[in-house]
Amino acid sequence: MTILYTTDHEWLRIEGDVATIGVTDYAQSQLGDVVFVELPKVGRSLKKAEAAAVVESVKAASDVYAPISGDVLEVNEELAAEPALVNSDAAGKAWFFKLKIADKSELDGLMDEAAYAKHTA
């Protein structure tokens, strides 16, 4: 299992050819209290960098982009019902969606934890 990060403050947990995607704790601290999450439809085919989900805080709406290409396998319905999970457990319970990885080479450009820590320092 590998955790990777994007410059847009998303995390990807890679397990085989499945990537679970969420936003980082840093992202939630910048967003403030999250009040609404819109998730992609299961089965949707996402292209890398396409707007995949929406997270709205009391302040503003932000897009969550697909960090890699792939089909949506599953979405976190619990998160849609309880958006505040993003604030309380961004790296865990507040996962957004799972993708079937279309092209593993797209993972090459992503950061590991050390590089991401440096990015947000």
Binding site: G32, D33, V35, F36, V54, E56, V58, K59, A60, A61
Partner: protein, 381 residues
């Protein structure tokens, strides 16, 4: 380093206190202001509704209108040339909500006017204060000395515990009722206290000499019921209360009637009243009173969970191509635990219970027109 065309942000007398207390400072109306503290917008909002919130609103303009004749009625009559409100009827020790109107009947700014017995005290919006002062000087200089009170801070103490929190420093605060306004000693400082605010809650606004602002706020914050509150929660509180934000929900292109502010224009200034008209845009505004306006500000409750924000275009149904209106304020209402908005619609579509649609990210989301305030106010009348 500031870019050449960027003017430095101003600071209120409470700037150091905000920073020391973890305020997240952002630019607002030319000032560096706290948008939130560590508690965050949701908790700050709830704390204000459940206990007491303390807001720094020192960026707003405070102006004294001193009648040259010495008679406050002359200042009131002069000010009535610029606003459609009955200012003469504001008794000493009372305050009233008003608008500066333009010749087209639009709103230049909204303000509070208090009668302090020998002069009037005005509180205007930060973003408009320079223009407002110039406007007053241009039109009222013959009758009044226009005194900009830039050496005073302004704080708001709002919520069900505001009265008890203020009573510790101003013994007769509890005897005031909604929209009372008078000079009072607070913690020994020469303040102007009014029982009013911008949250829908009971509460007070306190004008204090700038050099004593930090001492007064520090003293008020020693009470565990009182937390400092940022602009984020100020906005969600006023939105739930159905109160207009100038430049968004009302502006130079909206008349007081379109803005659903008829309640603020007394009968004496309407057609047939003792001092009917005589303010900028009277013809247009009185015509709106008599014949109705084509559009109207309404409250909107999205039926789903997605917030519908300022700028969202409104449609009469789920498919029509022609927009009918626009959202002017919108977000999440923490006390309702639901999204809430306001906007303009044709008067024919403005009845409560009407369903309209907002376009958000390419989808049409249903909203219901809802009477305001969304959260009942708790003013001590």
């Amino acid at each position: 380093m500031l870019a050449r065309d960027e003017s430095p942000l101003l600071r209120t007398p409470l700037h150091a206190l905000h920073v020391a207390r973890g305020g997240k400072m952002v630019p607002f109306a030319g000032y560096e202001m706290p948008v939130q503290y560590a508690a965050g917008v949701l908790r700050e909002h709830q704390h204000t509704r459940n206990a007491a919130g303390l807001f720094d609103v020192s960026h707003m303009g405070q102006i004294a209108l001193r009648p040259k004749s010495g008679k406050v009625e002359d200042a009131a009559l002069a000010l009535e040339r610029l606003v459609p409100q009955d200012i003469v009827a504001v008794a000493p020790g009372r305050q009233r909500y008003a608008q500066f109107t333009n010749p087209e009947g639009g709103i230049l700014d909204d303000l509070m006017v208090a009668n302090f017995g020998d002069h009037l005290f005005l509180v205007v919006n930060a973003a408009c204060k320079t223009e407002d002062e110039a406007h007053l000087r241009a039109h009222l200089s013959e009758a009044c000395v226009i005194d900009s009170l830039a050496d005073r801070a302004l704080i708001a103490l709002q919520g069900p515990k505001a009265e008890s929190a203020l009573a510790k420093f101003c013994a007769d605060a509890p005897s005031m009722r909604f929209m009372d306004a008078r000079p009072r000693k607070v913690a020994g400082f020469d303040c102007f206290v009014s029982r009013s605010g911008y949250t829908g809650e009971d509460g007070f606004e306190i004008s204090v000499p700038a050099e004593h602002a930090e001492a007064l706020v520090t003293a008020l914050l020693e009470n565990a019921d009182v937390l400092p509150i940022g602009l984020g929660a100020r906005d969600s509180l006023r939105l739930e209360a159905g109160l207009c934000l100038y430049g968004h929900d009302i502006d130079t292109a909206t008349s007081p009637v379109e803005g659903a502010l008829e309640w603020s224009v007394q009968k004496s200034r309407r057609s047939g009243g003792a001092r009917a008209g005589g303010f900028p845009g009277a013809q247009a505004i009185l015509a709106h009173f008599e014949k109705g306006a084509a559009r109207r500000r309404v409250g909107l409750r999205p039926e789903g969970r997605a917030p519908v924000r300022e700028g969202a275009v409104l449609f009469a149904d789920a498919t029509s191509a022609e927009p009918v209106g626009k959202v002017t304020s919108g977000g999440f209402g923490p006390s309702l635990n639901a999204p809430v908005a306001m906007g303009y619609l044709p008067s024919s579509l403005s009845a409560s219970g009407t369903q309209v649609f907002a376009e958000v990210r390419g989808q049409r989301l249903p909203l219901q027109i809802t009477p305001m305030p969304f959260v009942p106010n708790t003013y001590k009348r």
